[in-house]
């Protein structure tokens, strides 16, 4: 299963962190720091895989992708395939890109909750749930529509929600 998803910028600032098993706050910070420490010391043009047992304990690997100013990092165990995880990062990034048109670091910072929504659609409880970015986008759009609707916040009564769903 997937243990964590992180997005860290090249300066080591976390932009997104989602742990699928609960970890105390300090531990999360420590892990983020350690992961960044490992990644930033890796040379260019090497593999996207890192052995993470010294950071996350036995049976854990990291796959990361360095895009522009960001590291996208997935931490997972041996029940996943490294190359497939690399493509899952690709799915995430493609989805973000479609969502924000030329996604950049700022989009991720400013749309914090939206990113979480997208991620929740892709991964659920540590398992890969959806890999079609069109499908993910549709779900996100549906929620965005609600938000865009005037007075959406106060005016969606329970009776109307039934109408929305079908």
């Amino acid at each position: 299963m997937i243990k964590a998803v992180m997005v860290i910028n090249t300066q080591g600032k976390p932009r997104l962190a989602k742990f699928f098993e609960y970890l105390p706050l300090e531990k999360q910070q420590e892990l983020i720091r350690n992961v960044f420490g490992v990644l930033c010391s890796r040379p260019e043009n090497v593999s996207n895989f890192v052995d993470a047992e010294s950071i996350f304990g036995p049976d854990s690997r990291i796959v990361y992708k360095h895009l522009a100013t960001l590291y996208f990092i997935f931490v997972f165990d041996s029940s996943e395939n490294e190359l497939a995880m690399l493509d899952l990062i690709q799915v995430l990034v493609e989805t973000l890109d479609r969502c924000f048109k030329n996604v950049c670091e700022l989009d991720i910072v400013f749309n914090y909750s939206k990113i979480h929504t997208i991620l929740d659609d892709i991964i659920c409880g540590g398992q890969v749930l959806e890999t079609r970015s069109t499908e993910i986008l549709r779900a996100v759009e549906e929620i965005s529509k609600l938000e865009a609707a005037p007075n959406a916040i106060t005016l969606i009564p329970k009776s109307a929600s039934g109408w929305l769903s079908r």
Binding site: V46, S47, N81, A84, S113, A148, A152, I156, K158
Partner: protein
């Protein structure tokens, strides 16, 4: 699509993010974030904030927490938001809650109800959101509340909901397999879902289930194969294509499942060959995802029953991976090769060069993977190369975790495949020298044993060659600066055992070297202790050989220093060394037989060597030891105490019914004033016991003690209630206990009792006997009582009939001895309160009982017969209420032992038994049995027991 806005964010939040982004130092960032927290704290508690604002505040809180600052003050607000009717607010609430809380957080209970409601909602978006939360927040206890709802959702018309419901159910299974085991069939059913996405999701839980129990899913092989076939034939909707591959993620999962199902099952495997072969052919190896599928195919092929054609395709794919320029593919290739060589070892050869390239690659990940492969490939023919490579790499890295791992691998390979002893020792030296203290001390002990025992063949010359080559290399290595402690210990040990064995080096040369070590590493007591013991061995060998021993001046200086060392361990070793040097050849020979480190030590657990001493004492009028089973006048404090403290210690759920509060008797009658006879109606106890034992585990003899007390109180109980127990009770009881044992001080000071109480709490666990409790105790204390018992009983004056000579493995028994010895060192601090001198004075050679009785006499007329537990009646004049307990069952004695040892900090008790222990030990080390003691001790040292001053093993035993 693609709108920048969408999710509402205020200018304030943007500003916050910007200012954090621009912060030039961590301190500045912290300052900004702390300011933000203050603002949020203020605003969030305002009851009238509009929901839209509130939503944003919560997002800001999440953000703040991601940056590592505590936002717990806002958790409750996030929980409140989940209750909201508006979907957007609710979503934000759920998002925040899943990020903030763990499944055991107190606030979860407030959310469960909301989740229940939301799972029933008409709006599938609400349901999905709730299911997301379910995956993260539900623990074993709350599963039943949601399980039916989630199961219903498996049939929801929306596939998005069905998918998430499967994931939630899977999560339940992970949290608590038993609670959903009856629903596992649902996963099978969903495998046939119309929607491929749902089917794909089902593969996740099925994969896990199959991993646990392959055999119950063999029937699904054909289904999986046909699904995989359909997927590869592009029968799924176009939408599932990813980079021109049909549903690759589903393919990968299916291949993983097939690998499990086909493992070692020829019949099942045969069904898979065609489809796997198809994938090999169709797979697009130009895309990343195509290679992912290919890799999974290789894994599958190497796991299922081998098929030559498939193996060939797999080998082809591997060579393509290895030849690729991509490091990722090389990595996968190396990994795949590692899997395949288990089946066909010969394919490794054609990739030799590629593997060597990977070994020299600058990419660390790839290098490590390659070492893993090499580790798997090691044979006796290539072990030298591989281990040398590994050691070189080990020297070059700084990552301690990996260094440790690779060091242990080197050791393992070297032990398994070493071509020669010489090489083995050299290799171990390198590993120790470079990985030093990262190496497990076990490895060091293994090495020592190996040198001592040789390689198992009955070839003495080879063994002694091995030893002398070890000695030689160590003498050489000692010249290097700054060696790791573990390595030095090995060196000292080997030099001590075998330094002079082959006659090439003189004793004075070796001792000189050892002294150098002790001086050079003067801050490492363990090394110093090893050095001293090594010196002692060298001298012992010299003396035994009839040569005259001349201590080097530097050695003498060193001994002077150690004799005054702060470390009692070092001190003792130094004194022993002195003592050994003063002995004659014959004595030394029996204390320290040369090259006997591998001999088994016979531990005379019954302490039969004390028989003569005991005989003497009895002749002088001491009372004989009465075995527990025959004792009747013994009261069990611990039980009694247990009752007293029961409430305090068991705050959790109690599973057994409350017993009648026996202790009330005590509180009713102030101990000092009561005449003990009054309290001891002889006939009653019997009756009590019967009734009592029905409720409590019958076998525990200790219960009997408490029973009596309890009976007495029958009528009183309701009036007095439990809270009346006063500390006075415990005081008196402990006092009386002491006298009963006839061992020590009768002062029974109250101060110490308060300390006693705490430790008694833990003891209770052993005594109150429901199986649940025992389990709990076992888990809490790691069965400490059991292990404790051994050394304690060892010290008891044994029944002469029970000579148990235990022949255990040398190492083990020596540990025991060591711990016994330590126990005596431990005592003094605890004893202070109680007049340590008493114990001390009792120790040497004078009959301890006698002396103690003497001490008792002034205060009380405790007759000696009562002391030794003859019977209850004798108690008449004992102090306080002790008469009350004299009646109690003797069997409790044993229980006490273990309990007492488990709490060394427990002063009065330690006194009682600890007193005994130290006396016995004192006898053995200072009394007439000096020789025996030395001998034993010598053996301990010889076995290479780590001589750190506070023996860690002892504490491990004692405290679980």
């Amino acid at each position: 699509m693609g709108s920048q806005g969408g999710f509402y964010q205020s200018k304030e939040f943007l500003d916050l993010v910007k200012s954090i982004g621009e912060a030039r130092s961590k301190a500045e960032e912290d300052r900004i974030v702390l300011g933000e927290i203050e603002t949020l704290k203020r605003r969030i508690s305002d009851p009238d904030i509009p929901k839209r604002k509130m939503k944003e505040y919560i997002i800001r809180l999440v953000y703040v927490e991601m940056l590592g600052h505590d936002a717990s003050f806002g958790y409750i607000h996030a929980v409140k938001m989940t209750h909201d009717d508006s979907l957007l607010v609710k979503r934000t609430g759920y998002l925040a809650v899943t990020l903030f809380l763990n499944e055991d957080h107190d606030l979860i209970i407030l959310i469960v109800n909301t989740i229940q409601k939301d799972l029933k909602s008409d709006n599938y978006l609400v349901v999905c959101t709730a299911l997301n939360a379910v995956c993260k927040l539900i623990n074993e206890e709350t599963i039943p509340a949601l399980l039916p709802l989630v199961v219903d959702l498996l049939a929801h018309p929306k596939e998005a909901v069905r998918k998430k419901a499967i994931m939630a159910l899977h999560r339940f299974y992970q949290k608590s397999p038993s609670s959903v085991s009856h629903l596992v069939s649902n996963f099978r059913k969903r495998l046939c879902d119309n929607d491929p996405g749902v089917m794909g999701a089902t593969l996740c839980p099925l994969f896990e289930l199959i991993t646990i129990d392959v055999n119950s899913y063999k029937d699904l092989v054909m289904s999986f194969v046909s699904i995989l076939k359909q997927v590869t034939e592009r029968r799924l909707p176009k939408a599932y294509d990813y980079h021109q591959m049909p549903a690759p993620f589903i393919q990968i999962k299916l291949l993983k499942i097939l690998a499990l199902l086909g493992s070692g099952d020829k019949q099942a495997s045969e069904n898979m060959y065609t489809v796997v072969g198809d994938i090999f052919r169709k797979c697009d190896s130009s895309s990343n995802i195509g290679n992912a599928v290919l890799y999974e195919c290789i894994c599958c092929v190497s796991s299922i029953y081998p098929n030559p054609k498939l193996l060939e395709s797999a080998a082809d794919a591997i060579s393509r991976f290895l030849k690729s320029d991509s490091h990722n593919l090389k990595y996968m290739g190396i990994d795949a090769l590692g899997r395949l060589i288990k089946i066909s070892p010969e394919i490794a050869e054609q990739h030799q060069l590629a593997v060597i390239d990977c070994l020299e690659d600058p990419d660390d990940t790839l290098k490590r993977k390659t070492f893993e492969l090499l580790y798997k490939m090691t044979k006796s023919t290539n072990v030298e190369v591989i281990v040398d490579r590994m050691i070189d790499y080990m020297i070059s890295i700084n990552d301690n975790h990996y260094k440790t791992e690779i060091a242990s691998r080197c050791v393992e390979l070297a032990e398994q495949f070493a071509p020669s002893n010489q090489w083995f020792i050299q290799t171990m030296n390198k590993v120790f020298a470079h990985a030093g203290d990262l190496v497990n001390t076990k490895v060091a002990h293994n090495l020592m044993r190996l040198i001592a025992e040789g390689f198992g063949e009955e070839d003495d010359t080879a063994d002694s060659q091995l030893r002398s080559s070890a000695v030689e290399s160590y003498l050489h290595i000692l010249g290097e600066p700054k060696l790791p402690s573990v390595f030095l210990q090995v060196i000292c040990w080997v030099l001590g055992e075998y330094g002079t064995a082959d006659g090439r080096y003189s004793a004075s040369y070796i001792t000189g070297k050892l002294c150098d070590v002790a001086e050079a590493y003067s801050d490492d007591e363990t090394v110093k202790a090893y050095a001293v013991t090594a010196l002692m061995k060298i001298y012992a060998i010299e003396i035994a050989a009839g040569r005259k021993v001349d201590m080097l001046p530097e050695c003498q200086a060193l001994m002077e220093e150690f004799l005054a060392s702060h470390s009692t361990d070092l001190q003792q070793r130094a004194y022993e060394l002195q003592a050994v040097i003063g002995l004659d050849a014959h004595a030394v020979e029996s204390i320290m037989p040369s090259d006997a480190s591998c001999e088994d030590i016979e531990v005379d657990k019954a302490l039969s060597f004390l028989n003569g001493y005991i005989q003497d004492s009895i002749e002088k009028g001491a009372q004989p030891y009465i075995p527990e089973s025959e004792r009747s006048g013994m009261l069990n404090i611990s039980n009694f105490r247990n009752q007293d403290h029961h409430e305090a210690s068991s705050h959790g759920l109690r599973f057994e019914a409350y017993e009648l509060p026996k202790q009330t008797v005590q509180s009713r009658i102030p101990p000092a004033s009561l005449a003990s006879t009054e309290l001891v109606p002889v006939s009653e106890p019997m009756y009590v016991r019967e009734s009592y034992q029905t409720t409590i585990v019958p076998s525990a003899s200790s219960d009997a003690g408490s029973t009596e007390l309890k009976l007495r109180l029958d009528g009183v109980q309701k009036k007095w209630g439990r809270q009346t127990h006063s500390p006075a009770t415990s005081t008196s009881s402990s006092t009386s206990q002491k006298t009963v044992n006839g061992i020590t001080q009768v002062d029974g000071s109250n101060t110490s009792n308060s300390r006693t109480r705490e430790t008694y709490d833990s003891r209770k666990q052993h005594v109150e006997v429901t199986p649940e409790k025992q389990k709990l105790a076992a888990s809490l204390f790691g069965g400490s009582s059991k292990s404790e018992k051994k050394p304690a009983t060892g010290h008891k004056i044994p029944k002469p009939s029970s000579h148990v000579v235990e022949k255990s493995h040398a190492r083990k028994s020596s540990m025991e001895i060591a711990s016994e010895k330590k126990a005596s060192f431990q005592q003094p601090p605890d004893l202070l309160d109680f007049g340590e001198p008493t114990v001390k004075s009792a120790a040497p050679s004078v009959d301890p009982f006698k002396e103690l009785e003497g001490l008792l006499e002034p205060t009380t007329q405790v007759a000696s017969d009562e002391n030794h537990g003859s019977t209850a009646a004798a108690a008449t004049k004992s102090p306080d209420i002790m008469g009350l307990y004299t009646e109690t069952h003797a069997g409790t004695y044993d229980k006490d032992d273990s309990d007492i040892l488990s709490g060394l900090s427990n002063p009065p008790v330690t006194n009682m038994f600890g007193g005994t222990t130290s006396m016995q030990v004192a006898q053995s080390s200072k009394g007439p049995n000096l020789k025996d003691a030395l001998e034993k001790d010598a053996l301990v040292r010889q076995m290479g027991v780590t001589p750190t001053s506070p023996n860690p093993n002892l504490f491990k035993d004692l405290f679980g």
